[in-house]
Amino acid sequence: MKKGVFKLSGIFAIHITVIIYLIFLLFPFYWTFITSIKPEQEIYSNTISYWPNNVSFESYQKLFTSFNFLKPMINSLFVATSTTIISLTVSIFAAYAFSRYKFKGKKYLMGIFLTNNMFPVVLLLIPLYAIMRNIGILYTPFALMLSYTTFTIPFSIWLLSGYLRDLPISLEEAAMIDGATRAQAFIKIVLPILAPCIVATGAYVFMTSWNEYVFAVMFTNEASRTIPVALKNLIGQLGVEWGMLTAGGIITIIPVCILFFFAQKRLTEGLTEGAVKG
């Protein structure tokens, strides 16, 4: 009897703590959303409302009419998609080499890609800025794509070789004994099984390129700027436009959330295993 009460209070405590965590982790999103659907006079009112008295989508409307948010959205989509395709294409070959061959210098080559995680962004930022400027691609989408590969390629190689290592080698060997070449075995057997993992890796690359700010703010101009830069630009021109800013924030995060929920399971498996095992 006493133990039952004790257990019940334990379950109660768990739920309470979970709720406190969720409030802390999710409240900023709630608040951003609520602000985005308030009419302007309610955002800047002295009595703060925790649910809008009048729901209004004027901030969203203004974002596309007076600010032209569509342009940075298209830029972001283009940069993130291209970065994803480039990174996945080159990384999958490298990952295959790292997981299926034994060769001289493998450890060092793998180490080169791993150390990359450790370089401060600002270390690459400054010289890349000078290089892009000299070869004349500063302020074009290529500047961003190239600079994003500095972290997306090593990351993809690392994640994909983890997935490949967990894939039984026997299937490919069987195919090769039956007369398939290594390339055929790779295309017909490895790729289809690996597809969900490639999608998960791609989703992560897309998200990081979509979210990136530090390179983006230095390597883009009015015409080529991406969403994070545009969001920041809503501050400062005419004071802070919190209505449009929160509306833009909600639009930015929706695709990321959708991608994340799709890729979540594989991605978290690959990440947690890879980080510890290498």
Partner: protein, 292 residues
């Protein structure tokens, strides 16, 4: 004994990635080192030229550099420290059975995939001195009497940005530690139950020792990322007021924005050298487990 023919295919397969890597990482790092020995200020292009160790000497006498280094240290200690404890707590909770656990697990990871700029701006709005919701809540609960301009005054700005980075990092730790928790065999806990161990004993004698490697690795990774983080601080305070929230990464970024690239490179190299201590620890751990 027959000598094995050298198979060049792995090298061919790696070459595209390696080529890009050399072009966009190694070459820039090399350039950064060169620039650190130059007076490289794009606002005065005619004066660009080698000046030896001059930048390094200037930095050594730059009190703002030392202050930023100290801020970086505090930023990492408090940021990563609380991320760890709160993330650990969340992982322990998510490992328990309760209604809606699957949804809670996914949803609590969202801060981790949110763009840094958006995180900064969301929190900036919460902290706002005039219309901020945090002031409203604290006033309603009578914790404060007057509104606080959290990000505009030195005493509160730094703790406020630290809270934001903690918020961002909790999910990562929770994710890593939860994966580790799921790898601990339940027999260990059953045996401890038989021996009459209490919850705290199980935590310190089973859970933490079993998670040693996970904790070690995720903390090292997080230290590097938090120390390198620019977007959160830059978009919340820009490093102010009066440089009170300026970490070394933000200082480099601000200097880069003024186009004094030589000085900025020099600082980023010093930052890299400091962080490489952490990086080496991480790599050693990875290679050790590779050999096992």
């Amino acid at each position: 004994m027959q000598r094995k023919k050298l198979d060049i295919s792995p090298y061919l397969l790696i070459s595209p990635s390696l080529f890009i890597f050399l072009a966009v990482v190694l070459l820039p790092v090399f350039n950064a080192i060169l620039m650190s020995f130059q007076n490289y200020d794009l606002r005065r292009p005619s004066k660009i030229g080698f000046i030896g160790l001059s930048n390094y000497i200037t930095i050594f006498n730059d009190s703002l550099f030392w202050q930023s280094l100290w801020k970086t240290f505090l930023w990492v200690i408090f940021g990563v420290g609380f991320q760890f404890f709160l993330g650990f707590g969340l992982a322990l909770l998510l490992n328990k059975k309760f209604f809606g656990r699957g949804v809670v697990r996914s949803v609590s990871l969202i801060p981790w995939v949110t763009p840094g700029v958006l995180i900064a701006l969301m929190w900036r709005w919460i902290y706002d001195g005039n219309y901020g919701v945090l002031n409203d809540i604290l006033l309603k609960f009578r914790i404060i009497q007057d509104k606080i301009p959290f990000l505009a005054q030195q005493a509160t700005a730094f703790p406020s940005v630290v809270v934001t980075i903690i918020w961002q990092g909790i999910p990562f730790f929770a994710l890593m530690i939860l994966a580790g928790l799921q790898g601990i065999p339940t027999e260990l806990y059953d045996a401890a139950d038989v021996d009459g161990a209490n919850g705290l004993q199980k935590l310190f004698l089973i859970t933490i020792p079993m998670l040693k490697n996970t904790i070690y690795v995720s903390t090292l990774l997080r230290i590097i990322w938090v120390a390198n983080s620019v977007d959160v601080i830059f978009n919340m305070t820009g490093g102010g007021p009066a440089y009170s929230t300026q970490t070394l990464s933000v200082y480099v970024f601000n200097k880069g924005n003024t186009l004094n690239l030589g000085y900025a490179s020099t600082m980023s190299i010093i930052l890299t050298i400091i962080l490489s201590v952490v990086a080496i620890l991480y790599l050693r751990n990875i290679f050790r487990s590779e050999e096992e």
